[in-house]
Structures are given as C-alpha cells and as structure tokens.
Symmetry: C2
Subunit: 429 residues, 2 copies
C-alpha cells in the first residue's frame, strides 16, 4: 500500500484509478453459446454444463427432496444466523415501499405513480468453494417483497451435481420459486431465451466471473435489464485521530480478501494513522488464510494523507467508492457532504461486514466509480413505477388550450386535434 | 390497420411484435467519431458539425445574448403555455421526493437511504423542423429538482448556426446551466469524454435518431449511464362501449404522427367499435399535414377484438405499451390489473397529448416492451440513493455473532475478524 502525502488535485484522477482489468474478448464465445442455446435449448445448456462444470445433469431443476436434504445439512447455528440476517434485510427493504401520492396539478388533472413488480427475474449465484448464500438473501428478499411472481435462481453444480446446501436453504427461506443447477454463460443464455426447463426472465441479478459478466452484458443488448455494471469490489476508509487503527486495518483486510483485483483506499489527515494502520495490517494479515489474495489486493491499494478531513471527503466523492467507512469525529454530522458512494458505514463500530451480511442494507452496490451515476440494488430494482393520470371534463377544459398551443408549436397537429375534438364536443354537449 | 378477432394466446407473441427496425450497423462510424473526439477534442466536434449539419460554429456554447434574443422571439402565448406545463411538471416531480426513513433493524443498528443528485448530466434535444421544447421540460425540470449541479443541453444547430428559440426559452426557464450547439454522434461523444468547451457528464438523457441512439449505447459501454433503451413510440388503447370512437381515433392518430415506425394498437370487446374508430380515423386523417407518416404507422398497427375487456388487459400486459389509454367503463377501478405500461391515461378525457405536454407526468417512457422491466424517467433518474448504516457498540454486540457465523460459513475470515476484533475490544474495555 503506497502512501501519498497531500496529493494535488491534478493527481486525483490517477489516484482514483481502479486496477485495469484486461478483459479477454469473450464476445465471440458468449455469442456462440447464446446462439446455440437459442437454437437448441436445454440440450445445449446441458452440453455446456458437462463441458465447463464437468458433470452431467439430467434434470436442471432442483427437486423438493434435494431442498429438504439441503435444509437438513445446514447447521442450526448457521440457519439461525441466516434467519436473523433475513429479518433485518426484510425490515430495511420493506421500509423502501412507496405509498402512492395522487396530486392534482391543475384543477381536474390528477397524476400519480404506482409500483408494479417485474414479473420474472433471474438470480445468478456463483459456485466455487465459498457458498455465497448472503447474495441469495440480498436479491431474493427484495424480489419477494416487490411481489415478483417468478424468482429463478441459477447456480453451477459441483462435481457431484449439487448446489451448496446453504444456498438452497437461503433460497427456500426467502421465496425463490425455482432453482436450477446451471452456471456460467449457459445459465445467462437460458434465462435470456428461456428453454424447456428454465424460463425466460426480464431482469438478471447477481455477481459472477468475467464469463458471466460478459454474458449479462450481451443479455442486456438483447433487451433484458441487469442489476448493475460489474467491477471489482472496493472500500475507502476515511479516518482521523478518533479512529481505532486496528479496526481500520481489519476493515481494509476484509475488503482485500475478496479478490486480487479488489482495491482499498485509506484516506486520513495524519501520517501517524497510516503508520499505525499499516502495522496493524501486517500483524492481522499473518493469520488470514487468504494471504496471497490480500497481498495482491494491497498492491492496488493506497494510503492518502490530506491536509484535512474535508479534503479527504472531497477526494472520496471524486473516487465514488462502493463502500465508504467514516471513522472520523462526529461522523454522522459529515454525511451531508457525501455525494458519491454505494453504502456508507458510520463510526467505529459500523464495519463493512455488517452491511455485507446482516444489518439490513443491500450488498449489491455500484463499483468502479459507478456510484456517481448508479444506486445499489434496492426494492426499486425489482419494480417499475407506472405513471397514471386522469383528466375530468373540467380538467381537459382547464388544461386543453395549453396543450393545443404547445402541440401546434411542435407541429404535431394530430396531438393538438386529440384535445380540440374533446373540447369541441364538451362545448357542444 | 388489420383487425384480428379473438386472437388465441399462441398468436399473441406475433401480435405484440413491434416493427423490426433494420438497424444499420453504425458501430464503426460511432467508434471512429468517438476516437477522433477523444483524441482531438472540440476541434473534431466542430469538424463533424460542419460535415453533418453544414454549418461552421466558432463557439459551441450558446451565449447569454443569444438566449435573450431567443426569449424575445417566442410568442407570449407559447411562453405562457410552456410556463403552465412547467408548473405542472414541477409539482408532479416534486411529489416524487423521498423523505429518508431511518429504521433500527436490530437494537443499536440503524439503516437508512438518502438521495443525492447525479452531479453532471447531459440532455440531448434533436434538431429538425419541429422544436422539441417539451422534452427540455421533461428532462431539465426533474434534474433541477434533484439538484444536479451541471445540466448540459446539446442540440444541433440549424443552417444559420442557431438552436430553435423555443428550445432555448424552455432551457433557461427550467434551469439548464449550459447550452451547446452540437448534435448527433459528436454531441454524445463530447458529453462522454468532455472537451475544452463541453464538459463530461455522468448520464445522458434524451431522444434521437439512429446515430444518436447508437452513440448513447456506445457511451453506456464506456461507463456512462443512459436514460432508457430506445425504440419507436407506441400507444395501446383499450376501449369498450363507453368510449367515444372519435376520441379514440384522435388518440391513435396523435401517436401515429410521431413517425412511420410508430405503432398503435386498438384493443376492444366489440367489432362495432373497430368499425366506428376506423371510420373516424379515415375522416380525421384527411385534414392532417403528416398524412404519409400516419399512413405508414397505421400499416404496423392492429385492431384486436377480444371476448372481453379482462382478456384485453391481459394482452396489454403482454404487449407492455409505452402509452396505455383506458376508455372503458369504470376505468380507474381496473388499473390494479395493469402490470406493464409506461404511462396510463384513464377515461375519455385523458388523451395522450396531455401527458406528452402538460399534465405533469413525464413523457420519456419505456418503448418496445421495456415497460416490463424499466420505469419511465422520473426524479429517480437524476439521483442515486446511498445507503447509510450506524452500529452503536451495543449494535455490534447484538449483531456481531450473526455476522461472524455467516462470514465463517462463506470462508471469509477477514470479514469475520473485522467483527471479532471489535467484540474483543468491547469485552476487554
């Protein structure tokens, strides 16, 4: 982790640079697999599962008895923890429900919005040794609250043709309606086109490797919506003399263990804090199992010492971090200055892990500077808001002349006529 | 407009088909212009303005005196109409402001969301004979309410190097901060990279021809957000015996005049209504100036007679129209059945023109079936919602064990450690 003292604004662009991921050009591979699955359906899906995951799957859909087996396999301790987290996530996403407000903009002209669930959505959960059941909670819970009718989960099978029990437990707990043992590009293609076994969805959520990311982008080109543009995970901590350097070190490390391409940034107003945090990182790192990943991530990482915390916050807004921890004096009073961030953790006891798992906030967040123009996943991600309007006969008489003048000025005579014909009939009637 | 009697569900996919627009492959052109502008900045922008718009522009930015001249040129009648519309649009979008709700998910664990404006946004307004000042209102008003600091408008200059006065009037009225005489691919490229004169933006809004659409898609690939995927405009009217066939005809025609690729669909429960509406279309069409456009649009259009209105609504949800007019008995009581639509107009006096111009709702809406998975433009389109959380020392003690168990089960030891280190210190302190 390289330290920079009082970096000038000219340097900020460079300091806000994420590690450039040399994206392999996967477009041809993605297109070939999509074309094959569009043409040959589930047969092609199974062919790719055999090829990529090394296992032959007869029925992609997870059966009720497989789910029951999975439930039996998860420890009571983990079940309880998942349930506590699920309750908090439910509470927070329930609080995002909007009550429609009908307003009368002109006498007799009523306008309002109502939310409707996206009917059918897909949730992709990556495979691998660590079962990302927490992501199941973060996506299936708001989908269920929104009222999505079909919540389709896809996750690659292991060598024995199974999905990790904790994932299946979380899925059945949170209202996933169908679960399929399929991963990678073939999962995204199946959700895009629909096949005999796996239905077509309108929006795809969830993380994945570069193949899944490329496939989601391609699905978006074909008309599906996706949750967020992808990028490696990142954390920026702003710390002053009131921070606990050991806590800060533990937070930076928790982000660094996600992957070698993760980035952590320490922003502070004191060199001494950098020294203390760096030394705490060294000692804590020693006992972590993912040491080489952490070290790789720390190579992309930086400590920035600014003249004061307000300048540090300015840099943070410029960087637009996915996660932002404020370990500074009177932190909550400073949040009004935060312009760009995915999720903000306030004070010394609000570690990022809390939001990753159990506090209630969503952990699917904008990375790579996208916090400047995107929100993280929330209840909003699973609904559309439809506008409604009702004009009474008085309403069209009040507003009609305005519409006629504007339509005429835009040379849209039929638009004008739709009003005139109504006004005329009302005059004559 | 071809009529279909009781079309079976197997036919629905075909009947919901939009006109296939054979998109020219513009990617190479777009990429070449983007590369040139990224490298050569405003000089390249001006070169393309000269080439495509046939006019040499010295300063792209519209000056204060140009704006003053424009204001003087707009008729008082149109100014007043625009002001009435702007007030309604302001009221409706103000009503979309969210008041943050802080909730305590676990004792000592507080979570909430706050909105922040996207700092810098671009608004693209097409050129041509008809000045689309209404779109300026629909985009600049919510941007101003959101608090966007820089609201950048680009619109192509005419042969004399000017933007239509009504566009400039609407822009200055609604809080646009900078206006530039630049259109087409070069405008989108300038907004994507920023140049000496035109600043870089984070999100681009607004309609455009196939060049602008392709350029917006390319900008999205480069990390910018865009408002909505593009497609030709469309209207579906559901009408029963309570409708006024002349009103319905006028609404269908108002949509049809937008372009030859527009589509209008009449859904009803009676052949007689089709006959009446068709005959009203014939007589109203005769006096419209855009007759050939209307006729071309009507070729892509359909009248569908279903056994009853509920089946018609089901088809409408399947089609997912951009605009939906309900000219049916007790229309407002039926809106709970509407699942997919951009904007809904209730009853015989709620013509689409009202929402296009002045009722208050936004007219930037999802086309081409995107109403299944996208909302129209609203205040939300100009903000991000950041999640905040604060755990007290009691909060981390209450929730910490849950996080530790989950992190361990996902094999993320550093995530667990960020909690453990805090719990330990609290025990010892």
């Amino acid at each position: 982790m390289k330290t920079y003292l009082n970096p000038k604004p000219e340097q900020w662009t460079e300091l806000a640079q994420r590690k450039t991921v040399t994206k392999a050009d996967l477009n041809e591979t993605v297109k070939a697999i999509f074309d094959d699955i569009q043409k040959n359906g589930i047969k092609a899906v199974k062919k790719y599962t055999h090829y990529f995951d090394g296992v032959s799957i007869e029925n992609c859909r997870v059966t009720t008895s497989e789910i029951e087996d999975a439930i039996a396999q998860v420890s009571l301790e983990l079940k309880n923890a998942i349930q506590v987290a699920a309750e908090n996530i439910t509470q927070f996403h329930l609080s995002q429900k909007e009550i429609p407000t009908k307003i009368e903009t002109t006498s007799g002209v009523f306008c309002w919005r109502e939310s409707r669930a996206i009917d059918t959505i897909g949730i992709y959960i990556p495979g691998g040794t660590a079962p990302l059941f927490s992501t199941v909670l973060m996506l299936a819970i708001p989908a269920t609250i929104a009222g999505c009718k079909n919540i389709i989960l896809c996750s690659p099978p292991d060598k024995n043709g199974n999905i990790n029990p904790a994932i299946l437990f979380a899925a059945q707990l949170t209202g996933v309606t169908q679960m399929y043992k399929v991963g990678g590009i073939q999962a995204i293609a199946a959700l895009t086109f629909g096949t005999d076994e796996i239905p077509k969805v309108s929006k795809i959520f969830g993380p994945g490797n570069q193949y899944v990311t490329a496939a989601k982008q391609y699905a978006q080109q074909l008309g599906l919506a996706i949750d967020l543009p992808a990028g490696p995970s990142e954390l920026l901590v702003i710390a002053d003399a009131t921070c606990d350097p050991e806590f800060v070190a533990s937070d930076l490390l928790s982000q660094a263990e996600h992957g070698g391409d993760s980035q952590v940034i320490l922003v502070t107003n004191s060199e001494e804090i950098v020294t203390k945090v760096t030394s705490a990182i060294e000692s804590q790192k020693a006992i972590l199992p993912r040491q080489s990943t952490v070290e790789k991530a720390l190579e992309n990482s930086r400590a920035l010492v600014f003249q004061d915390i307000p300048t540090g916050i300015e840099f943070s807004n410029f960087y637009a971090p996915e996660h932002l921890i404020l370990s500074i004096e009177d932190a909550e009073s400073k949040i009004k200055f935060i312009e760009n961030a995915g999720s903000v953790f306030i004070g010394n006891y609000s570690c990022e892990s809390a939001g990753d798992y159990a506090s209630g906030t969503n952990h699917t967040l904008p990375t790579n500077g996208y916090a400047k123009n995107y929100s993280g996943v929330s209840l909003d991600s699973f609904i559309k808001k439809i506008t409604f309007q009702k004009l009474t006969s008085q309403g069209i008489q009040n507003l009609g002349p305005t519409i006629e003048i504007m339509a005429a000025a835009e040379q849209l005579d039929a638009h004008k006529n739709a009003v005139s014909i109504r006004l005329k009939k009302l005059q004559n009637g």
